[in-house]
Symmetry: C2
Subunit: 133 residues, 2 copies
DNA sequence: CTGGGTGCAAAGTATTTGCATGAAC
DNA sequence: GTTCATGCAAATACTTTGCACCCAG
């Protein structure tokens, strides 16, 4: 379990029950889109508004506390920021897994053919997860 | 130059001037978002409607004739389908370049740690292009 | 106390749909 | 002639904004 309050404070975000719940949900599920988040938070906060979700998500993304992950054919999901990693997206069940892969070889082969200066690498594998195979 | 009419026919899409223009624009620019496409097509077709653009883009994506490319922090762009490739996105000028990289090494290292069956790989490098450096 | 967060309602933006007309085949 | 695309208007979906009230610090 994470201590969401401390995390929020570290990112200069006022600690409110709604925000704590957002962080808890994301920690629990790893990746969620806006609708899933809203639906789940409604159980704890029957009068929470979508505007609150959007404002908080945007604030957290601005503070680089959350990342938005854009995935082919699907809505964006959000995740707590952490070390750079890739995503495995199951086309069958929709599950998204994180995986840390070394991309230095790839970046080296890129250097061989281009002068592009890489700041960040976004890598999404779509396919079928172990469970669904 | 591509022969857009023939391409459209190959993908079972009726050949209309609007569609030909969409293909020509995408061929010329490589990657465009909906607004850019609309803005450019308005010059040739002053009464073209956004609905037409959306309907055609969706039809072409369904036929796997176009790809939608989702890029961090930006609107999606569309490109003519072709061999799998990666994208270099310049955070300074916004330019998007295609680049073909061999991802087999990467997929092999993935195999080492996961049973995920990869169907497709989406790879986007964000950074600074040669011109902007 | 003060600044900022919340929820509501409204506005703004993006995308889709239904339909009458017209063009492609 | 039949099928399907176009453009318009309306509907729906998604996201942001303004504001009054309230809570965290």
């Amino acid at each position: 379990m994470v201590n969401s309050s401390i995390l929020l404070k570290e990112y200069d975000l006022k600690v409110t029950p709604q925000r704590v719940a957002i962080v808890d949900e994301l920690y629990k599920h790893g990746h969620m889109n806006i609708d899933e988040l809203y639906k789940n938070l409604l159980e704890k906060f029957p009068s929470i508004s979508l505007a609150t979700i959007y404002k908080n998500i945007n604030a957290m993304v601005d503070k680089i506390f959350l990342n938005e992950v854009k995935i082919p054919e699907t809505k964006s999901v959000y995740e707590l920021a952490k070390e750079e990693h890739s995503h495995l997206v199951c086309q069958s069940c929709g599950k998204i897994e994180d995986i840390v892969l070394d991309t230095t070889l790839l970046q080296n082969s890129l250097k061989g053919v281009s002068n592009f200066k890489v700041e960040s690498t976004e890598l999404v594998f779509s396919g079928v997860c172990q469970n669904c195979q």
